[in-house]
Structure formats: C-alpha cells, structure tokens
C-alpha cells in the first residue's frame, strides 16, 4: 500500500505472447493424450474393433444365425473360427455380434451419462432440499445390486436388445451422478462462477456453459469406462441366459456355448477374448484420457 503521489502515465503494457496459436483446452488434452503409449495403443485397438464391427459384415456376409455346417466343427479352412453347438459360424458371430455388443455398450453408457449428469448437476448446483432429494434417489439405486436389478428389469420386460440396453443404463448411473454432484459442488463457489453470476448469467447458462464444461474432464473418463462396464454387463446378462436370442452378440455366444466348453473351446474362447480385448481397449483409452484431462495430473506438466 503506497500513496501514489506522482501521477503515473496510462501506458499500455507490452506483454507476453500474442495468442497466435490458440491453445484450446481440447487441443492441449489431445496433445497430452498422444503422449501416453498405453492410451494410444488402446485407441488403436478400439478403432480396429469398431472398424471390424462396422465394415466386417459387408466383407464377410455370412448370417451369424445361419447353420453353415455341422455342430462343433473345429477351426479349419472352411470356418476359420469353427462352428458352435448349432453349427453356426463363430467368425460371423464375432463380426456381427460386435455391432450389437458395441452398440449396447455405447448406448447404455450414454444413458448412464445423461441420467447421472442430470441428477448430479441439478443436486450439486441447487443444493439444499433439491440436493437432498437427488441424493436420496441416487442412494435408492445404489443399494440395489446392479446385476440383480438389471436381471429383474430384463425378466420383466423381456430379453430384447432395447430393454437390455435400458436396463444396463438405468442401473449404472449412480457413480456418474455422485461424481458430477461432487464436481458441481466444488466448482459452484469458484470465483469465475460468481463472476458469471454477477454478469447476469441465468441458472441454465451457469449449468450448461460454466459448470458443465469444467466438470466434464472427470465425467468423460468415467463415461469411457462406463462403456466397458456396460459391455461386461451385457455379457453377464447373456451368460445368465437373459440375452436377446434374435440378435447375435458376444455375450449371447458365450452364454449359449458355455455348456459345451469342453467339447468346443473355440465357441466360447473367441467371443470371450473379443469382450476382453474390447474392454481392455476402452480401459486403456480411459486411463489415457484421465492422464490427459485430469486437472490434478495436468498441473504437474
């Protein structure tokens, strides 16, 4: 604190770098992500799996539900991955089933994220009685064992791909909600949120433009992992006999062939390996993303 008795000139200070290359947070995160070898490896694997699932069926146009030969044919030149207990082509199942499995995973994860974000954001932003209600709803879903709850839902509404997806999404959003709520409560009192409020931002503006983008880094990571969890969930439900019998998926292949594992290991091992690789790839991407966008880790670099 000094009494300034000389009048200082109003001078525009010559300062730092001009912002020629806009270092947007997204671009910084991408650059950081490419530095993580396991993340890049996971991303490559995932892209490959998605490519096979998207383009595969037209390159290998065998209906996975068709009987193409004798049951339990081991892998050979006719059927590279063998046939299952009904004589269906395992390779066709893998390629076509990938579509269903990935779609269930992605859509269920999307449902998880949307429900979790809404519940968490509303509770964390408004606090008080609204928050208490949201927390109670979350806790209600948390105390139910998710797999059991999903089984009940699928049994009630029939084993169709849509009900399976909805059931998975509907039981697994609690962790996203809790995470979002915690992030919102942390962010709510930060200076730039107050500043936006003081500049006349409405609640909707604050939630969507100010808080949500800042809460996303943490949520994106758990969203990625949620895809993997949803795929495992679908596998688990199908394994227990609650898969959609009309749509080939990796989980369904596992579930239908598990009784014959000693006679035809290929019909179980290949879809199992496919699920394993897909979930591994997603986990690696999630870890890489976490390193790239987690603010606590980023500050170190």
């Amino acid at each position: 604190m000094t009494v300034i008795e000389s009048t200082s000139q109003v001078s525009a200070p010559q300062t730092d770098l001009p912002a020629r290359t806009a270092a947007s947070p997204g671009r910084l995160a991408l650059r950081q992500f490419t530095k993580s070898p396991s993340g890049v490896a996971g991303a490559c694997m995932l892209i490959l799996i998605i490519l096979v699932a998207v383009a595969g069926p037209s390159l290998y146009p065998v209906d996975p539900l068709d009987l193409v030969g004798a049951p339990f044919m081991p892998p050979d030149a006719d059927a590279w991955f063998g046939t299952d207990y009904l004589g269906r082509d395992v390779l066709a199942g893998l390629i076509h089933g990938g579509r269903a499995t990935l779609a269930v995973g992605a859509v269920a994860a999307l449902i998880t994220i949307v429900i979790g974000l809404v519940i968490g954001a509303v509770g964390g932003f408004f606090g008080g009685a609204i928050d208490a209600t949201m927390v109670k709803i979350t806790e209600f879903f948390q105390i139910l064992p998710p797999l059991l709850f999903a089984m009940v839902l699928v049994t009630l509404f029939g084993p169709k791909l849509t009900t399976i997806t909805l059931a998975i999404g509907g039981v697994s959003w609690t962790s996203v909600a809790r995470l979002t709520r915690a992030e919102f409560m942390r962010l709510r009192d930060l200076d730039f949120v107050k500043a936006s409020r003081a500049a006349g931002a409405s609640n909707v503006n604050l939630i969507l433009r100010v808080l949500l983008p800042n809460a996303l880094p943490a949520v994106i990571v758990s969203a990625t992992l949620a895809i993997g969890v949803a795929i495992l969930f679908e596998g688990g439900l199908s394994f227990l006999g609650l898969g959609d019998p009309n749509v080939m998926s990796w989980g369904l292949m596992l579930g239908q062939n598990r009784n014959y594992i000693l006679d035809a290991w290929w019909a179980v091992m290949f879809p199992g390996a496919a699920i394993f690789l897909a979930v591994l790839a997603i986990s690696l991407v999630g870890d890489g993303l976490n390193d790239a966008i987690n603010p606590r880790l980023r500050r170190r670099s």
Partner: protein, 331 residues
C-alpha cells in the same frame, strides 16, 4: 442531484451453526451519485465485500439481508423478482472481483466470455458481439486486441486478465461498477495502471464506481466520497479529500498511519516506523452494543466504555463520524 444508488439502513446477518442470526453489517446507509466514485474502506472482515454482494443480491447461502432498502435508479433492488434481478446484474450494475487469476472461466477464450455477456444483455449476434468485444478490449487498453480476443485466460498475465474482467464488467454499459479490491492481487506497477484505467473509463463512460479497497492511496486518487467500515458499522463517512487529510475517528487515523508516504523526486525522510493498530477486528458474534473499536482504541475514555456505539453524526457538511470524542479529538 438524485442518487444513482441509495442504500438505506442495510442490515445483513449470518445464520450460524445453531441457527441464530449474527449481525455482519449494521445500519449501513450511503448514496452514490451518477458518475461519482465512493470508496468503502476497512480492514479484512469489516463487511466490505459483503456489502458489495448484498447490493448484487449474491450473498452466500447463510447470509441474509434482515432489513434495509437498496434503491438503484429508483428501483427497489431487494423487491425485484429473481429474473429481473438477473437482467440487472451485468447491465445496470456489474462487478469486478479481487482475483483475476480465478475469476475467468479457464475453458473459454476471453472473447467468448465477454461476448456472452453482450449476447445475454444486448441480444447481439456472434459477429456483432465479436466486433464489440474488440472495441471493449481496446477500451481497456489491451494491445493487439484482435489477437487477444482468441486467447485463453491462462495465456494472459494477471494485469491483462483484470483488464479483461473490467471489459466484461463494462460490456453491459453499467451505471454502477462495483470493484471489489480490483488490484489486491496485482503488482504495484500494474495496480497504478488499473486505477488509472478505471478513472479514465469512468470519465469516458460516466459510470459510477463503488470501490472496495484497503489501498488508501487509491482512495485519495480515485474516490470522491469515502466510507470507513469497522466491524460492519460505518464509523466515518464524507468527502475523501477531507477524510484523508483530516481524519477524525481514531480508527481512520490508525489506518492512515499504516500507509507509507513516498514521493518521487523527494529526498528520503529519516526512518519512521509505520503505524499499526494493535489487535484485530472483533469476530462475528462478538460484537456488542458498545463501540466496536473500543478494545483497540488508544483514545478510549470512560464515556466510550459507558455508552453504546455512537450514531454517525455530522461534524461538517461533508463529514460524519461515529465517535463519542469526535469534538475533543478534532485538535
């Protein structure tokens, strides 16, 4: 002259853990005339920032305005429905925060953030907002505004960010700009630049400024009127020139003694210890009816101890003091 902002007997309390109301600001009244600057001065914990937040109706959850009136341009701010209040914020009155490093959203460019305020309040489209943002950045003397509009906050220095904050606050052409310690977090050289900038912007835009500060140098330079707060009570008010040159309340005198007086081009004075005020501001809940400054006051006498907090009484047309010994201490 009719006042732009009129605060009448404002009382703010905090609800403590047991639900009791603890007074934070007591019987605060002041007016701000259009285009003028009023400074709120006091130590940390005296209720300066709470006054600002009360004006914006942005008090933290546990704080409540228990009574009083806040009238801005003839409108009763405390009676406005939330939606109208929101449109008032950022347009009729806006606020600059203390800490420019954290007061900007790290994920958006400064252009986006200023442009957003323009879109909310003036309904400008993207292109119009952008050119207006460049104008605003030029007005707050940011060099190379055309490039800096696309900069993220982390690419700017503290002084630059505070200029961006000022641009954002001025975007809605406010009648009243509340500056809550706008330079506390900045280097001394940058502080002077920011104060000069505020003074210049006030001249060009005619906005009134409510300056919250403990920098008495800035008060002397910038403010027309000042209000000295102590423990949530106004203990001295008046024209800033008068108070800075002839403070009457022992607390104001103590504050002024804490300021080093340096002047460029003068030989250094022999070493003098800076003054200090022993003790600290009484915490919330420990403020009784008697003079809040009593425990720390070197001039306290039996009258002070026997009577409650004195009323704010005029001793001159532009000077009011809340002290039992105001006449004796005049000498």
């Amino acid at each position: 002259m009719s006042a732009l902002l009129e605060v009448d007997d404002l009382n703010v309390s905090m609800r403590n853990g047991s639900g009791r109301l603890v007074p934070v600001i007591e019987h605060l009244s002041f007016t701000v005339a259009p285009g003028q600057t009023l400074a709120l001065v006091g130590e940390s914990g005296c209720g300066k920032s709470m006054t600002a937040l009360a004006l914006m109706r942005l008090l933290p959850e546990d704080f409540v305005i228990t009574s009083g009136r806040i009238v801005l341009e003839g409108r009763d701010v405390l009676a406005l429905p939330p939606k109208e209040m929101r449109s008032l914020r950022g347009s009729a009155m806006s606020m600059i925060f203390q800490e420019p490093m954290t007061a900007l959203n790290p994920l958006f460019t400064v252009g986006d953030q200023i442009g957003e305020v323009l879109r909310w309040h003036q309904g400008l489209d993207r292109a119009a907002a952008r050119s207006r943002v460049i104008e605003l950045l030029r007005a707050v003397q940011i060099p190379a505004a055309e490039q800096r509009i696309d900069a993220y906050p982390h690419q700017l220095s503290g002084g630059m960010r505070q200029r961006v904050m000022i641009a954002m606050a001025l975007a809605g052409r406010p009648k009243l700009l509340i500056a809550d310690e706008p330079t506390t977090a900045l280097d001394v050289t940058v502080q002077a630049q920011i104060f000069d900038l505020l003074a210049e912007l006030q001249r060009s835009t005619g906005t009134a400024i409510l300056l919250i500060t403990h920098d008495l140098g800035a008060v002397a330079e910038l403010a027309d009127e000042m209000l000295v707060l102590y423990a949530g009570r106004c203990i001295e008010a008046g024209a800033s020139d008068t108070i800075v040159t002839a403070p009457r309340h022992p607390y104001t005198r103590g504050l002024l003694n804490c300021v080093p007086h340096l002047a460029i081009g003068e030989p250094p004075k022999p070493w003098v210890d800076l003054g200090e005020i022993p003790g600290m501001v009484p915490p919330l809940g420990a403020r009784g009816a008697d003079c809040a400054f009593l425990a720390r006051c070197a001039q306290a006498c039996d009258v002070c101890r026997a009577k409650p907090q004195p009323a704010l009484e005029s001793i001159a047309p532009d000077h009011a003091v809340s002290c039992w010994r105001k006449t004796e201490l005049a000498a």
